[in-house]
């Protein structure tokens, strides 16, 4: 099996979550489009893009095609999982340079770990 990004699971969960009542609430609250460039090892290398469209409630693999995303985040696979699990604070990651942000910072600030549903453990 080709090495899949761990982030894939998180995005998949988010995708399902956005269809629930709680997910619809979240969409209304944020109503922005984020793009994530996830790198397996080092930012900028072999990145895989995901689009989280909180206007339409969609999560897609690939860069945003409807124009410019409100904010684009670039980070490592591992860090993204930590971010989604609340183990890494996005602002701190940003200060450290392990999270890069393009676009509107105020849009980026609405991106918080609690928008991600948490994975349950078998």
């Amino acid at each position: 099996m080709a090495a899949e990004l761990k982030s894939e699971s998180v995005f998949d969960l988010l995708k399902r979550f956005l269809e629930t009542d709680e997910g619809i609430e979240l969409r209304k609250k944020i109503n922005l489009v984020y793009q994530f460039n996830i790198a397996p090892k080092k930012i900028g290398i072999d990145e895989v893009s995901y689009t989280v469209n909180l206007k339409k409630g969609e999560v897609n693999k690939g860069p945003y095609e409807g124009g410019k995303p409100d904010a684009t985040f670039s980070l490592k696979d591992e860090d993204f999982v930590k971010l989604a699990e609340g183990k890494l604070n996005p602002q701190i990651a940003f200060m450290r340079g392990t999270l890069k942000i393009k676009g509107s910072l105020s849009a980026a600030q609405k991106f918080t770990p609690d928008i991600f549903p948490k994975p349950s453990k078998l």
Binding site: D12, I92, I101, P119, K121, L122
Partner: protein, 749 residues
């Protein structure tokens, strides 16, 4: 053996605690770089232990105030290396046969400490500590002695700014790399020592040193730098490219370094302050020297990136101060940034620290001393639980870690892409794009950053794939810890069972059953990292154990590590007496998910009544996120094994991950009815409530899970998120301080 190893062999031992011991090694380390081959260092451990441990143990027994530099030597000169040192070693070595050896050795040292001081009579120490007439030592003997003595005398020449006399030396056999190091470092060091002297004097000093060592005396390095520095050069140029026209890396350093000195009001103040405070007696001076060298290392390691960061933050602070919002002006974040820009805070090892100004220096020194004490505590504790072999391993890894300091800071430096975000931030502030709340957000982020540092530290202790034993274990020495552990596990006292089982595997490290049950206990306690670590040991001891292979597959699935999970689940099939024939050996090299799933489907057709096959299938479908199929598999298995609480939890977790939270909660309830202390199910309950937006509810379940296992780190993170989502920010501090009693009182279930 390389020169570096001969000289620096003992130094690694001196680094973890304070750096007071083994100045010789540390000096050589500073000069030659601390990278060295593990094997060679291993051989030298006994010696290193003998010379450095004595000093350290003395510090431990002294109370911290008395443990000021020089104080211990006023009361009693140096321990005789032949004395307690070797006695300690004997005890240490005999530990394999005699469990009390270590304790005796320890006591021995404690006792002998009270005895009248022995005479210091070894030439090297004499030289180092007695700053007598022998400023220029006799230069003969083995090469490493000659070199270290020679370098010492160079260092000493700085004390009185005495011109340094070249001396004829025997052939030292320095490699080109060593020469390069000495050349680079001595020229920088000299600028540190002789800051008040003219450039000519400095050059003369360095040239004298270099010519004696038969090193090309051109202070300004020519040609390519050795490998380690080439990397630095890249990073340096990368970050400074826009600021200055790319000077040579080494020159850049020196200039940067001098500039940094000017930033501090009185560059020598801290050194003098130290001298005033502790007297200029031999030992203290030597120590000061040491610290200068050590701080040189820090200069190299930290300040170069810091200066870049400072420059950037200065720009940032300027931009921010243009913002007239009073709220913003008073924000902690702005204060943080301006502190950074003034150099009052530095980023060191990914942590923001206050810069050690002149007056802070002594404090820092004392802190280092205090750390020495905890080192010894740790050492004693470790000895109890690990035995000497472990200790040796640990020692070498620690040595390696210290050895990689150079690489580390280069990495660190590369992480500081300050340019990007400063620009970004500045632009946005100018455009007024940040809302009112942003200042508070950033300020909070800074506060959280401090918390995160604590968490990160804890994390780094637990990570690395090695099993981490608990510090204090009452079950060590128990006649039959395995039986006790099994009993506790059956009763559902998971955290207690973990301790008993740890005692078992400490006693019998090859007991697969001990490790396996320990792994299960951790998994049920919601700690997959430790579960994996324990299960790996179980698998080492018993490579074909099916339960172990399945547990490893499950834990790796939880950690989203697909390839590893697939490997173990396939291993389960291959080692199964009934289905092993299905597994084709050539598959093992290139596992494809589809193939493995197909094989398990075949297996389930061979014996549809085998619940285990359905369980593995369920896990596999979780890996591919085909949750409907996974749910069906687990439900089939549950018909065959309705009393399996972990199976109910697996069903619940799968339902939760396919956002059927209400069903999930029912399944968890089943699991908890069968096993009330199932921490993982409690934590999963919390997750399901949180994912439905029922944060208040989720908090109660997280708290319950944490009350049973305060080490469940995931649950702490999730609790924190739920607290802020439920607008219970008043309890965040309680959460951060992990005060479970208060949380339980506030959120009863």
């Amino acid at each position: 053996m390389a020169m570096r190893d001969l000289v620096a062999g003992g130094a690694a031992c001196a680094v973890p605690g304070s750096s007071s011991s083994n100045p010789l090694g540390a000096l050589a380390n500073t000069l030659l770089g601390s990278s060295s081959k593990t094997q060679e260092r291993l051989k030298e451990i006994p010696i290193a232990t003998a010379t450095s441990s004595e000093n350290r143990f003395f510090q431990d027994v002294e109370d911290p105030l008395r443990a000021l530099p020089g104080a211990e030597f006023e009361q009693q000169p140096f321990p005789r290396p032949g004395g307690q040192g070797s006695e300690f070693l004997r005890g240490f070595r005999s530990a394999d046969q005699n469990e009390n050896g270590l304790a005796d050795a320890w006591d021995e040292i404690q006792r002998s400490h009270v005895h009248p001081p022995p005479q210091a009579n070894i030439p090297q120490l004499d030289h180092v500590y007695n700053r007598g007439p022998q400023l220029q030592p006799t230069l003969d003997g083995p090469p490493q002695r000659v070199l270290s003595n020679f370098l010492h005398s160079f260092v000493e020449s700085s004390r009185g700014a005495i011109p340094f006399h070249p001396a004829p030396l025997p052939l030292l056999g320095l490699s080109e790399g060593d020469k390069q190091c000495i050349r680079d470092r001595s020229s920088i060091m000299a600028r540190h020592f002789f800051a008040d002297k003219s450039e000519d004097f400095i050059n003369a000093q360095v040239n004298a040193l270099l010519s004696s060592l038969d090193i090309d005396s051109d202070v300004h390095v020519k040609g390519p730098l050795p490998g380690r520095f080439r990397e630095l050069e890249d990073y340096w140029n990368e970050s400074q490219g826009s600021l200055r026209p790319g000077p040579h890396a080494a020159d850049g350093w020196i200039a940067e370094f001098n500039q940094h000195r000017l930033d501090r009001s009185d560059p020598d103040a801290w050194a003098h302050a130290f001298e005033r405070q502790h007297g200029a007696n031999g030992w203290a001076s030597e120590f000061e020297q040491e610290q200068q060298l050590a701080s040189m290392d820090q200069m190299r390691g930290v300040n170069v990136p810091n200066l870049a960061a400072m420059e950037q933050t200065r720009m940032l602070a300027h931009t921010l101060s243009q913002n007239n919002d009073p709220k913003f002006q008073n924000s902690k974040f702005l204060q943080f940034v301006s502190k950074m820009s003034r150099g009052e805070l530095i980023i060191d090892d990914n942590q923001v620290k206050p810069a050690a100004g002149p007056s802070d220096w002594a404090t820092e020194y004392q802190q280092q001393y205090t750390r020495g004490t905890s080192w010894a505590d740790e050492y004693v504790r470790d000895e109890v639980s690990r035995g000497p072999d472990r200790w040796v391993n640990e020692f070498t890894t620690e040595g390696e870690q210290n050895g990689s300091v150079d690489d580390r800071w280069v990495n660190e430096f590369s992480k500081l892409h300050v340019n990007d975000w400063v620009e970004e931030f500045g632009q946005q502030v100018e455009k007024g794009e940040l809302g009112d709340s942003s200042a508070d957000n950033w300020a909070n982020a800074y506060d959280e950053y401090l918390n995160e540092r604590v968490a990160a530290k804890r994390q780094s202790e637990a990570s690395g794939g090695d099993y981490v034993f608990s510090g204090m274990n009452p079950y060590v020495g128990h006649p039959n810890p395995l039986k006790e552990g099994q009993e506790l596990f059956r009763k559902g006292l998971l955290s207690e069972a973990v301790l008993a089982l740890e005692a078992e595997v400490l006693k019998n490290p090859d007991n697969a059953e001990g490790w396996r049950l320990l792994g299960i206990a951790h998994a049920e306690n919601d700690d997959d990292q430790q579960a994996i670590a324990a299960m790996m040991r179980a698998q080492e001891a018993d490579p074909t154990n099916l339960e172990v292979l399945l547990a490893l597959g499950v834990s790796h699935t939880n950690e989203l590590e697909q390839a590893a999970a697939l490997k173990y689940l396939y291993g389960w099939l291959r080692n199964h007496p009934k289905y092993g024939t299905l597994a084709t050996p050539e598959l093992a090299d290139s596992l494809y998910y589809a193939d493995v799933a197909r094989l398990f489907n075949e297996a389930s057709q061979i014996s549809p009544e085998d619940a285990d096959v359905h369980i593995v299938l369920g896990v596999l479908y979780n890996l591919s996120r085909e949750y409907d199929k996974a749910i069906a598999s687990f439900q089939t298995a549950l018909k065959l094994k309705p009393q399996d609480y972990s199976l109910w939890n697996k069903l619940g977790a799968t339902q939760a991950n396919s956002v059927q939270s209400a069903d999930a909660i029912l399944a968890y309830q089943h699991a908890l009815d069968l096993k009330p202390n199932y921490v993982r199910a409690w934590a999963n309950m919390g997750i399901s409530y949180a994912n439905q937006g029922l944060y208040e509810e989720s908090i109660r379940y997280y708290v319950r899970a944490l009350a049973m296992n305060p080490k469940a780190d995931n649950a702490w993170q999730y609790l924190r998120i739920s607290l802020s989502c439920a607008s219970r920010n008043d309890m965040l501090e309680v959460c951060d301080s992990r005060n479970i009693d208060l949380l339980q009182k506030e959120f009863p279930l």
